[in-house]
Symmetry: C2
Subunit: 175 residues, 2 copies
DNA sequence: TCCTGGCTTAGAGTTCACTCTCAGGTTCAA
DNA sequence: TTGAACCTGAGAGTGAACTCTAAGCCAGGA
């Protein structure tokens, strides 16, 4: 049971162009070819394709994916190296998730910030808002974020800059 | 208290080049300038910068970040739009995290796969491994992954392809 | 037999987000 | 006053990952 590049493309949600590009980059050495050079994908190739997708979606560059494919092509002798590769990738993905979680916190804070500002009609509420009015989760996020972004001002500007001449304060609007 | 582009760059971990590039792209309309045109960052600009970083780290393209900055510059009238923007971004980040979690599962499965193959000396163990030998978590991941990747074969190849001529089976090695 | 549509390769073009080079201006410290 | 170390804008270059074009081949149906 063989599939052409177009059929596979539809199946896994990539364009035939992209699949040929991967092929050119050496990511698909496992696909068979017909006499006339047409790529013939077989069912067992899907496993490779899903693995490629997985590594791609977790931010691995194509040349690193190729390195993995090449290890796979060499057979059982490279199992240890492949294990190491996936362990490193596991670590990286966990870091990515942690980073996104941290940014999600910032975004949640801003959602609350704008919700509050919206019902007050102005961002200025946040200058006078009482600590008790802030939801627990938001208070926690805000504290954590402040600890991270603390600028102690001990390393102030090393160069004096002339005071701007009658420039209206451009950054008057809060974010 | 003003900072030059180089000082800010050091503080937030970007290059002065990058900061000027952002400036050129219209991401920093809030920074003051000296008489001679030197960028003068103030403490309150950090809030904007951290927000830009947040949106960038969560995959928002520069032109969309600019759209947000522009809304911010317009003041309180755009609070509703900014709220909507952050709500959409929240949704996207949650999706990104879910996607990474799914891929992390695949990676965990492969870690187990190679660990097992390593101690057996060959990937071939996985053709004969008993269901009870598979850890609970792995079994669960594998089932979920199989449900997702199910290829029912009902939409087989639409074009006949000549059987390849004595081509050795290239994809013999499992992944 | 010819048309259609999908396949092939090589290679050029695109988009994004930087990243760097250049030529010149500004500021401070010695 | 002079040198170092910044700064400026314009614009070219980079690398990653596509994305598309061109010219041509091949199989099946009207």
């Amino acid at each position: 049971m063989y599939y052409t590049v177009g059929e596979i493309a539809k199946e896994i949600g990539l364009s035939p162009h992209t699949l040929r590009f991967y092929s050119k980059e050496g990511l698909l050495p496992f696909v068979d070819r017909s006499e006339s050079g047409v790529r013939m994908f077989k069912d067992s190739d899907f496993e490779w394709l899903f693995l490629i997708e997985c590594l791609k979606k977790t931010g691995m560059p194509i040349k690193d994916i190729k390195a993995f494919i090449d290890l796979g092509m060499q057979g059982d002798g490279t199992i240890g190296q492949r294990l190491e590769l996936f362990r490193r990738q596991k670590q990286r993905v966990e870091e990515q998730i942690a980073e996104l979680q941290a940014q999600l916190d910032v975004i949640k804070y801003k959602c609350w910030y704008y919700e509050t500002a919206k019902s007050a009609g102005t961002c200025a509420v946040h200058e006078t808002i009482a600590e008790e009015e802030i939801p627990q989760e938001i208070r926690y996020i805000r504290e954590k974020s402040r600890r991270m972004h603390r600028l102690d001002g001990t390393n102030g500007p090393s160069r004096a800059i002339k005071i701007p001449k009658a420039s209206e304060p451009s950054g008057a609007a809060g974010c």
